[in-house]
């Protein structure tokens, strides 16, 4: 099973790699939401950061870092592209299945898309928590 072209493209040219400062800077910046999901012993750690306009709640910028396989890297890279310029409510609606479809992920790689969805949710939750916005638990779509 070879990787799809889109996975390879994201892997070779990952979009929006990086972060909005050191770990402690991000922690204190209330316009930044940070989501870190996965664990090294599972073979994937995904970190997604969003920079949100506090007035409009629009995600003005997004960055990621990822320890994981090519599909995990591509999923998180794609996620940053998609959520940019969305409001956090819109971004929260992103479903992992859309990533699976876009990247043509095989069954054994679906968990990568799930991680990406989770990392978005986690970043938004972090942003909301920092800004005292109520958090509703949404069920997974998978």
């Amino acid at each position: 099973m070879a990787y799809s072209e889109k996975v390879i493209d994201h892997y070779d040219n990952p979009r929006n790699v990086g972060n909005f400062g050191t770990t402690s800077e991000c922690k204190t910046d209330s316009t930044v939401g940070v989501g870190v999901v996965g664990a090294p012993e599972c073979g994937d750690v995904m970190q997604l950061q969003i920079k949100v306009n506090p007035e409009t709640h629009v995600i003005e910028d997004a960055k990621f870092k990822c320890f994981g396989c090519g599909s995990a890297i591509a999923s998180s890279s794609l996620a940053t592209e998609w959520i940019k310029n969305q409001t956090i409510d819109e971004a929260e609606k992103l479903r992992n299945t859309e990533i699976v479809e876009e990247l043509a992920l095989p069954p054994v790689k679906i968990h990568c898309s799930v991680l990406a969805e989770d990392s978005i949710k986690a970043a938004i939750r972090d942003y909301k928590a920092k800004n005292g916005i109520a958090i509703e638990e949404t069920a997974h779509s998978h």
């Binding site: 990952p14 999901v37 090294p40 073979g43 970190q47 990822c66 320890f67 054994v108 986690a122």
Partner: protein, 412 residues
């Protein structure tokens, strides 16, 4: 010499068939295509003769008699036959009962040993699975400690397929045979690369496979000792009575001819090849370890096959790394299990941390690799690790001085 990409550094998964092997096989497809079981015409006789020659070539490589070679479809089958066949033959109690006898093996064996052993456990045998040291080795002392009065079989691989580490097989064989039990070794990664003598090395049953030594896929052999003592097995594939009744089925004549030729070539070229490969591997290891920090070479420093290395690069994930080194065909975990997402059970058996277990590459060199390829690979790997560490949140944490092992991960 120009380098063809991708470079093949996955010789422990399978090897390119040597062109001399293919040439030897060719006449047996369309010209000398008889069934060696055909006792009454030239086509049969020619095939039988070819099989006998191959038997001799294999026997020469491992120091056995040609009569002690039983052809199989590969090492997986050879392991199944050896382990189940011996356990059933030497069982202390009939089917359906417990306490049928004690079997010793190890947790970092190939699945083709582990699964048959597990099956026997379900069938009433007692099993001890040894844990290797942090260096990956199983020693004679470990086996001695595990021996019981009712031990009937010990199966310890000679060289590990993921690490290349070499167990104390001759010494283990002595312990086992002195106690009157049967010594099996899965020598799939060993035979053809390292000198082997089943008599001096105290082995009763030995599995080998063509495609790991520049021979064809789909053919292998089990050495079955015939003297002092004569080892007997319950056949697993029955009907026809070929191979002294131990393995029925029309013999794979071209495959057997190829295996024979592969063994002959290995016999001749093993010594010089070993040296050449060791030098290449040492350069690969030392250059990578010197130029990239937080790396770890897994398994014993010296007691390792000359051509295999297993390196963990901290903070990068193995599969992602393989994608980055797309010009190098290698594996992360063993090829046989890399369909799963689990980190290698072999590295875990050594106590390698989960993060480093996920960060390993196995590079296995072979007959057709060149120094130029090694140099190219070094550059490729250096670049890939650099790129992936830039992407790695774990590397950031490391650089910020955060101890990753203390983090509570929101596991999914």
């Amino acid at each position: 010499m120009p380098i063809n990409l991708p470079i093949y550094f996955d010789n422990a998964a399978t090897t390119r068939c040597d062109p001399r092997v293919v040439e030897a096989m060719l006449p047996y497809f369309t010209e000398k295509f008889g069934n060696p079981g055909s006792r009454n015409h030239k086509f049969g006789w020619d095939s039988e003769e070819a099989v006998d020659i191959a038997r001799g070539q294999i026997a020469d490589l491992i120091g056995s008699s040609p009569k002690e070679i039983v052809f199989t479809s590969g090492s997986t089958e050879a392991n199944n036959l050896a382990i189940k066949g011996a356990a059933e033959m030497y069982a202390k109690k009939p089917e359906g009962e417990t306490g049928r006898g004690h079997i010793i093996s190890a947790i970092h064996e190939h699945k083709a040993v582990i699964d048959p052993v597990k099956r026997l456990e379900k069938r009433g045998f007692d099993v001890t699975m040894l844990t290797p040291g942090a260096d990956g080795l199983i020693t004679a002392a470990m086996v001695k400690d595990a021996m019981r009065d009712d031990t009937i079989l010990c199966s310890i691989m000679w060289a590990n397929n993921e690490l290349g580490t070499i167990n104390e097989v001759p010494q283990i064989g002595k312990v086992v045979r002195d106690a009157g039990a049967v010594m099996h070794t899965d020598a799939t990664q060993w035979v053809g690369k390292m000198p082997t003598n089943v008599v001096e090395d105290n082995i009763d049953l030995l599995s080998l496979s063509g495609h790991k030594m520049y021979g064809p896929k789909g053919v292998g052999a089990l050495y079955v000792r015939r003297r002092r003592p004569r080892i007997r097995l319950v056949a697993q594939i029955e009907g026809g009575g070929q191979e002294r009744g131990y393995r029925s089925g029309t013999l794979n004549v071209p495959g057997i001819v190829g295996l024979g030729m592969a063994c002959e070539i290995c016999s001749k070229e093993m010594d010089s090849e070993r040296e050449r490969l060791l030098k290449m591997r040492q350069r690969l290891e030392s250059t990578l370890a010197d130029s990239i920090d937080v790396t770890q070479i897994n398994g014993h420093a010296d007691k390792r096959l000359p051509h295999v290395t297993n390196i963990s690069f901290g903070f990068v994930e193995g599969e992602g790394l393989m994608m980055a080194v797309k010009n190098i065909a290698c594996s992360s975990g063993s090829a046989c299990t890399s369909a799963s997402l689990e980190p290698s059970y072999v590295l875990k058996a050594l106590g390698v941390g989960d993060d480093l277990a996920h960060s390993s590459l196995r590079l296995s060199l072979g007959r057709f690799n060149t120094e130029e390829e090694v140099d190219f690979a070094i550059g490729n790997i250096q670049e890939a690790v650099r790129k992936l560490r830039e992407l790695s949140p774990l590397f950031d944490m490391h650089n910020e001085g955060i101890d990753i092992s203390t983090i509570e991960w929101a596991t999914h």
